[in-house]
Amino acid sequence: MSAFEAAAEHGRELPDRRYTPERAASGLVSKRVIVGYGFWIFLLSDIVMFSAFFAAYAVLVDATAGGPSGRELFNLRNVAIETACLLLSSFTCGLASIGARTHRGSWFYGAMAATCILGVAFLFIEVREFASMVTQGAGPTRSAFLSAFFTLVGCHGLHVTAGLLWLLTMMAQVFAKGYRADILRRVLCFGLFWHTLDIIWVAIFTVVYLMGAGR
């Protein structure tokens, strides 16, 4: 017997469950919260995918097949510059989201442009590092360790590339359509995506580069 029926039997006053606009309004969460939640679920699934790559890397890190190890390949100065680029871009991305919410064009476009430049700098350094490794004969086909390395770090690089395309799209959409609610929600999702990439980079520079160079 449900609580509802029990209440009816004892002649108590039934709870009013009729639909009213007031009730609907108080029960609904704003669409921004719902969209953010849904996108957060996607980001967590992306993190789970990355953790599989991390597990593969950690298992294969010693399988160098006589080839070069991380200690010989990694240049920590480059990694430090990459880290600084990504961390600063995360900060400017936060500024851009504030600029979007407060409808301040100069903040939004300036901070988005700074984020874009820092992201491009990060990608440039990473591609240069990959190219120099391949020319040294340490490409992804050299050993299981290098396959896992290129998969993990390359997958992050692809995410950053996609993020940069998304960034430019958001700048164009705000420019063309203004600070509409749906556009602002997309800006929110972009911000979450970009910050998550930085979180994954924290794991990469720790596990791959710092622990690899000290090995």
């Binding site: 669409k31 939640y37 679920i41 920590l76 961390l87 500024l95 979180i199 720790t206």
Partner: protein
């Protein structure tokens, strides 16, 4: 009915379609939060890079220290950049995060554990070669 239908519209327009006023903190406060996050993350990153190359601490403790610093920095990013807090409208986000962390830990620890076991129990390579002959 038509009357209540007309009444319903403004409520929906206010909440469900996601029309937002700027209901967060003041912009200055929000920038301050990002600045604190940037400062903490920079500090943790610098310490990570410093500790990885130093001989000041006992060698085997370095990987552990690096992992602890990385987890701390992820926490800083979550709180100050992604704004995952313990507020009431964030309960679902926290639950999803907890589930994600559980899956990540199972995946990492499980893979490393099983593969270490297999490595340990595997016949040495030269014996395998001899058996295949």
């Amino acid at each position: 009915m038509s009357d209540s239908g007309q009444q319903r519209e403004p409520y929906y327009a206010d909440t469900a379609p996601g029309y937002e006023h700027f209901d967060d903190h003041e912009p200055a406060e929000a920038v301050g939060s990002y600045l604190v996050g940037l400062g903490l993350a920079t500090l943790l990153t610098v310490v990570s890079f410093f500790i990885s190359g130093t001989t000041l601490v006992w060698g085997p403790s370095i990987p552990v220290a690096l992992i602890v610093l990385a987890i701390a920095q992820m926490g800083v990013h979550l709180v100050f950049f992604l704004n995952i807090t313990t507020g009431p409208d964030n309960v679902n986000n926290i639950m999803a995060l907890a589930f994600g962390v559980l899956i990540v830990l199972l995946l990492l620890a499980g893979s490393l554990w099983i593969m270490a076991n297999l490595n340990h129990n595997m016949m040495p390579m030269d014996q395998i070669m001899r058996m295949q002959r």
